[in-house]
């Protein structure tokens, strides 16, 4: 009898192995690409873009980074920006998921909330940032508020659409076993929406990082956005690039963390997605 069973086992193993190989091949090519870009940057900075007012070779940027680190300023800037981002992101995630759940569970409430979501989501948040700084002053509260506003909408909208597109067939399975509404939500609809929610969080990460920079550009005493602002005003290209580079690294780091989470909670989806 278990012929089919024994045949399938190696197939699964094989697929896993193939995925690992593809992954490491991709890693090597990615590293080659980054190194080549770094070399190009260095060469460009030393030859035809050799003007410290507008551009700086990679080595000068790294020197500047070391300098800022030694003075202790860089650690403060990173800590300030990180704090603003993480507080805003966590609050926005909780609110976004919460409101999304509320909208998905009541049609009437959804109709009350929907116009506001559409309107606020479409508003360019850069327009709101100065207002928040005006209301909340220069500092943590205003910056957290900006991050919150830009993160909450993608999380909310993805949570809602994930829940709104629940698999009817799976809901019927739960009903067939005698599940009540709460069980249908907690055991079918919410787990089914998780991949959507994580996708929303991933969009939120990217937007939240932009939010930090923009918020700090509109007024701050410290932070990586502040570093960019001051360096720009002082025509210090190397300092500018330190800020930009650190934001880029932070973006890659956080997106990678979210992707690991995604693969853990939705392995059946991560497999057909990007590896």
């Amino acid at each position: 009898m278990p012929d089919a069973v024994q045949v399938a086992q190696p197939r699964v193993e094989q697929r896993r192995r193939r995925m690992r190989i593809r992954l490491s091949g991709g890693l090597v090519r990615g590293a080659v690409s980054v190194l080549a870009a770094g070399a190009l940057w260095e060469i460009a900075g030393r030859t035809f873009l050799n003007n410290p007012l507008f551009f700086a070779p990679l080595s000068a940027v790294l020197d500047k980074m070391g300098e800022l680190w030694a003075s202790g300023d860089l650690q403060v800037d990173i800590a300030v920006s990180f704090e603003e981002f993480i507080i805003g992101f966590i609050l926005a995630s909780i609110a976004g998921i919460g409101i999304g759940v509320v909208m998905a569970s009541s049609k009437a409430l959804c109709q009350y909330i929907d116009p506001w979501v559409s309107m606020l989501y479409a508003t360019p948040f850069v327009a709101v940032a100065p207002l928040l700084v005006l209301w909340l002053g220069i500092g943590l509260a205003a910056h957290v508020a900006v991050v919150f506003i830009v993160v909450v909408f993608p999380v909310l909208i993805n949570t809602y659409s994930g829940l709104a597109n629940s698999d009817r067939d799976l809901i019927e399975v739960a009903r067939s076993f005698g599940a009540d509404q709460i069980q249908i939500f907690s055991k079918i609809r919410f787990p089914g929406a998780l991949p959507f929610i994580v996708a929303g969080l991933r969009q939120g990460v990217a937007r939240g990082l932009v939010g930090v920079v923009v918020a700090e550009l509109f007024g701050s005493h410290a932070g990586l956005g502040y570093l960019i602002l001051i360096s720009g005003q002082e025509f210090d290209a190397a300092g500018l690039f330190v800020g930009i580079l650190l934001f880029a690294l932070a973006g890659i780091g956080v997106v990678e963390i979210v992707r690991v989470i995604e693969r853990r909670i939705a392995p059946w989806r991560a497999q057909d997605g990007r590896s």
Partner: protein, 277 residues
């Protein structure tokens, strides 16, 4: 071989004057009309008929997922008012929860009933074993073949400890060889687990091979056309399918259905014409 209603009392499941209609595009559609039959404890009964005879609707009524328009269904003499007690449905598509591994999918029924003890976990593992998937407890549905997923689907229903197992063309999407193996497996499993089973299919040989009785339905509105008792010895090997007795059963049922199929095709054509008019 005529339509007969068993006297109530000793029946496990009794269907009395069951009818179902619903509205579609502002037109009333009568799917089932005045269906009566009963099923004894431990009996394996198949329901066959041309497509559109309301087989799946009947199964959903028996499971309690939808309410009947008229008539009633009794399990152990008690009327069925909703899903849950005493029945479990094996779905046509496997409908496994993709975020749960095999063991956790099989444990879904008891979990919904808020029974999560050690005994439940052990029983789930026993059913995984019974359907031949030992060693695959931690695998996810996307890592399994179609046949293996249907085994999980079956184990999930069995693990809800139903007295009546309802099966909706569970092997329809499998290839011919896998289907034969799964039929033999189903016979072994229902015999071992001592279950009453109602099996919906449009494969006549599958129905004859598995069943004690085959109920042949007419096209819409679906009614019981004839019931055919299958007197083949048990346990049945796959080789029974090549015996003259087996072939005469399938021929007889095919003749009953052929006329219905022709009518069903005519019905579809008339409906399409009405839609375009």
């Amino acid at each position: 071989m005529t339509t007969a209603v068993m006297p109530s009392g000793d029946a496990k499941l009794e269907v009395r004057n069951l009818g179902k209609s619903y509205m579609k595009d502002d037109r009333g559609i009568e799917v089932l009309r005045d269906v009566c039959f009963s099923i004894a404890d431990g009996e394996f009964v198949s329901i066959v008929g041309a497509s559109g005879c309301g087989k799946t609707t009947l199964l959903r009524l028996l499971d309690g997922l939808i309410p009947p328009s008229s008539g009633a269904i009794y399990l152990d003499g008690r009327p069925i008012e909703g899903p849950g007690y005493g029945r479990a449905l094996v779905f046509q598509q496997d409908r496994l929860l993709p975020w749960r591994n095999v063991l956790s999918n099989v444990g879904f029924g008891p979990e919904i009933q808020r029974r999560n003890g050690k005994a439940e976990r052990e029983r789930a593992a026993r059913y995984v074993d019974l359907v031949g998937l030992r060693g695959f407890e931690r695998h996810y549905p996307h890592e399994l073949s179609g046949g293996m997923r249907q085994r999980v689907n079956l184990a999930r229903a069995l693990n809800a400890e139903p007295e009546v197992l309802l099966l909706d063309e569970p092997f329809a999407s499998l290839d011919a060889q896998t289907r034969e193996i799964m039929q033999a497996e189903l016979l072994r499993i229902t015999a071992e687990a001592k279950k009453t089973a109602i099996f919906v299919t449009h494969q006549i040989d599958e129905a004859v091979y598995l069943s004690d009785r085959v109920l042949v339905f007419t096209v819409r509105p679906g009614r019981l056309k004839e019931e055919v008792k299958i007197d083949l010895p048990r346990p049945r090997q796959l080789a029974v399918k090549r015996t003259p007795e087996f072939v005469s059963y399938t021929d007889h049922i095919w003749q009953l259905i052929e006329q219905e199929v022709r009518e069903a095709i005519g019905l579809e054509a008339r409906e399409a014409a009405a839609l375009h008019a």
